[in-house]
Symmetry: C2
Subunit: 549 residues, 2 copies
């Protein structure tokens, strides 16, 4: 099921670093023009691909797995499911964190595992976890590898436990309880396709949808693009099964209980540090895309748009599913790269006071039964008007949805142009949202050639998610240090102004250094106590994950 294994066109770093189907995407010409303008660059700067990573993968670290250990793993899962060659060890050691992509372009793989093992069943996972616990071999559970937090690095070596190859099927669609029981290594599209055939949808569509798995969604506590309506993945979990060094934890599918706390919640957000999630039961939803209502609105300022969004979500008339605001910077880019800038419609908007540099787009969908979706959208439109927003049709949302997973492809060609580009995100209360938004922009503006777009997505009664995308030319020859410094300063800025470390990307190894300061020492000690109990020998994704051990 892994989208690349066995299909490698070559064994280069580039095969590993590129997003998704590995196609050679190009940056749209509007965007190139913008980059040249913003950063004072010329075509000469783009004459050849920067750090293309086209060399063949060669690891410095040999696999440290002992022959007897390799033999045992092969005896459990079959020889073809235990790989120790350089390319696969490199491939499974990284996700899509900008720092990892940069390393690969610099022909570096700092923390490869000793082997990649693809167990064929839950029972094989139990055997492997037991064996690795006895032998003190680290285990890094691997799903779709779209992590942007360094979650797959293996600083202690050990094995990358690939769940996608075999543990990837739907076990039961339960139409009485309206749930699906699915194995953790199943990719989003395969799950969704099968659910659609039965009239359901999973409701969870992160940007990484095509290259992420159910187990990964839960481990990282992801959020789909329509999470305002459907909830984050942890809201959809009904029950799960996890294999830990201390035994199998299997929770049950009751709708809600009052018998201690819900143990499944410890595994949502544990990022592989407590055990291996092998199966999960999720809520599912009715699949009726023909009922979805869509609307785009434009506002004269970010502040007005945010205030209106807050009023909408705090009104009690049902809620949107997709719910987003692009800030003025992101809105301007959208208008420029779509060719809208300078059209007649654009001139009309400007005359009405919706001006470049301050105007903001809001996108809304409402799903559900046809008349319900219509009713709620009617209320949304009324609220938008009351908030001085103008309805500009469903078209822009439809267009956005058509390319909803494609912007993940943009980063690689930008890097080919020598442009550093990364995303961060934070959950923040309404009270602090504008503060964080302003501070983040100010921070980026302090770097001579840098540009940031921010949007709001994933909206709650008491706050929302702010999502940051920045672009700036790499400091050539000092790419890594420069990036880490710039990135770290942005995280500091967000956290200091009241944002959380993460809303849906997770923490991993990249954001771990912020955990204790953010959560407090007592909370960290509590998390560590849970870790110690379930994984006393620290074999589960060790080496800095979540700041645990």
């Amino acid at each position: 099921m892994n989208y690349i294994r066995g299909m490698e066109r070559d064994k280069s770093y580039r095969q590993i670093l590129k997003w998704g189907d590995k196609r050679e995407a190009e940056v749209d010409h509007h965007m190139v023009a913008l980059i040249k303008e913003k950063f004072g660059l010329t075509d000469a700067d783009f004459s050849e691909k920067y750090l293309p990573g086209t060399e063949e993968v060669k690891l410095e670290k040999p696999s440290l797995l002992k022959p007897a250990q390799a033999e045992f793993l092969k005896s459990v899962s079959g020889g073809e499911n235990v790989l120790t060659d350089d390319f696969h060890r490199a491939q499974y050691s990284c996700g899509k964190f900008y720092g990892e992509l940069l390393d690969l372009r610099l022909n570096q793989v700092p923390d490869p595992p000793d082997a990649v093992v693809s167990p064929r069943s839950h029972d094989e996972v139990v055997k492997i976890v037991g064996f690795c616990n006895d032998e003190r071999i680290a285990i890094i559970p691997v799903g779709g590898q779209s992590s942007v937090t360094g979650a797959l690095r293996a600083p202690h070596g050990g094995i990358a436990l690939d769940l996608t190859e075999h543990i990837n099927r739907i076990l039961k669609i339960n139409s009485v309880n309206k749930t699906v029981t699915v194995q953790a290594g199943m990719y989003g599209p395969a799950l969704e396709e099968e659910l659609n055939r039965h009239g359901y949808t999973c409701g969870h569509f992160p940007q990484s949808f095509e290259y992420s798995t159910v187990g990964g969604w839960i481990s990282a506590r992801g959020a789909g693009q329509a999470s305002t309506g459907y909830g984050k993945i942890e809201d959809m979990v009904v029950a799960l099964t996890a294999v830990t060094p201390a035994g199998v934890i299997e929770t049950r599918d009751f709708p809600r209980t009052a018998q201690g706390w819900d143990l499944f919640r410890l595994f949502a957000g544990a990022e592989g540090t407590l055990g291996v999630i092998t199966g999960v039961t999720l809520h599912i939803f009715n699949h009726a895309p023909q009922n979805t209502t869509l609307a785009a609105f434009i506002f004269r300022s970010f502040e007005q748009a945010v205030e209106t969004m807050r009023r909408m979500i705090q009104s009690e008339y049902g809620r949107p599913h997709l719910f987003r605001i692009s800030d003025p910077e992101e809105t301007d880019i959208a208008f420029r790269t779509s060719g809208f800038d300078g059209t007649f419609a654009d001139r009309v908007l400007k005359r009405l006071g919706f001006k470049t540099g301050s105007r903001c787009l809001m996108f809304v969908t409402v799903e559900g039964e046809k008349d319900y979706a219509g009713f709620v959208m009617g209320k949304i439109k009324k609220s938008a008007r009351a908030g001085k927003g103008m309805y500009i049709g469903a078209g822009p949302v439809r267009k956005w949805l058509a390319q909803r997973y494609s912007s993940a492809y943009l980063r690689d060609p930008l890097m080919d142009l020598g442009i550093m580009s990364d995303t961060l995100e934070t959950a923040v209360t309404w009270e602090n949202l504008l503060k964080v938004w302003r501070a983040a922009h100010e921070y980026v503006r302090r770097r001579p050639k840098a540009f940031m777009m921010i949007h709001i997505s994933h909206v709650y009664e008491n706050g929302a998610n702010l999502y940051f995308t920045f672009l700036t030319p790499m400091e050539k020859g000092n790419e890594r240090k420069d990036f880490l410094q710039f990135h770290s300063g942005l995280v500091d800025t967000i956290v200091e102004h009241g944002g959380s470390i993460s809303h849906h990307h997770g923490v991993g190894r990249v954001l771990a250094p912020w955990m204790e300061g953010h959560l407090g020492r007592n909370s960290m000690e509590l998390m560590k106590a849970v870790k110690r109990h379930l994984d006393p020998n620290n074999i589960m994704n060790p080496g800095g994950m979540l700041g645990l051990l």
Copy 2:
């Protein structure tokens, strides 16, 4: 703030055992007639109150608090906030579990604390918990004492830590984030009154509302009567502060994060075993009772009503707030005791096939903005018709709401008549719901003179709560053993057929023996590990709570 302290009319067991405002309620004459008929009793059986508990409280166990310990506690919280007299030690040692009421009527208080301490602030709680941890003194956090699970017993003595006396104020109503920050010892009505003044409601109305506190709601993971719309209390928690022997855990008010698991969730359902919740931030809702739409429906059978309820909640057109079905037994009692039986309307219903012994009532409210509540109720009515239910007006729901907290008063006068009456409840998937319902009725029918009513309340996409109320004459002279045996058999029956131990009453000491068999050993060990970390000396509500230690 405690509703009785200082106001005792006498110091009898009866003052402690009676529900709520301690009034002498009577059983309605319809109900008395029914009891006589069902159980073959006559007026002679009711000539005097059975086990009235009117004697003055006298404890066998002296307070074991050492003088120096008492002095320290007084130095922290003031002499008037440390009580060691028999009556108060007895009063604070029990909630409203039937077994406890029976003990009191038998002039028994098996597990009194050594003292009742009412700290005046969070800081005093910190000092007391630290001191008690050093001195190995047990602490039992006490709120409104409406527990029905033996959660307040002090088998290891120690102190009942009363939060209601002083730690009972709203700290902040945040209308930007739409949240309230409130101290844990605040009672429901005081909270709601203040919120209403600001245009909000807490949305949480358990039957114990008038005599329960915010901290108790969270500790027991309670559910309000309108939880289908507003969620259970754990869904409303945004953040909380808890004082544990391992230090203060303070979580933050982000709308949602992906930075490990949400630690506040460990305290929801911990029933005082991990620490003392002192403050909490909750979501609040718009207070607009004038918008609420109400409807009662009648169905020809329980099966039809349940199937229709499931279709309603699994439709995606908004959801009810209050959502209930009374099974045929409960429906019949409602019709008889309300005087509806035998009226012209009743005869019409019967002619239409809604017959005694099989017909069922469904109650629905929808809250929110006026047109939203109207829209959703329109969809509900359509679904009810499609499910062969008949709309019978809003009146029955209005009537039910007017006495929504009063049935808790019924148990005491029933016990005065020598009738054993208790309630149990379970969360169960749709798949298992009818199975549990049938098995529970069959179990009760095996007892010669016994009668059970069941309703569904608290409804979810994948299942619902079944709520059981049974009545049967006490076995005089063997009241306690007979009750425990009968009660335990009913729990067994529920759990064996797929029900959970509890949906919203909690586990306490009464249901603790079922925990390990139900959750599995590995899950219990995980819960115990959390307990050991936060409370290494086992001072927090020790002695069997939740099956922990």
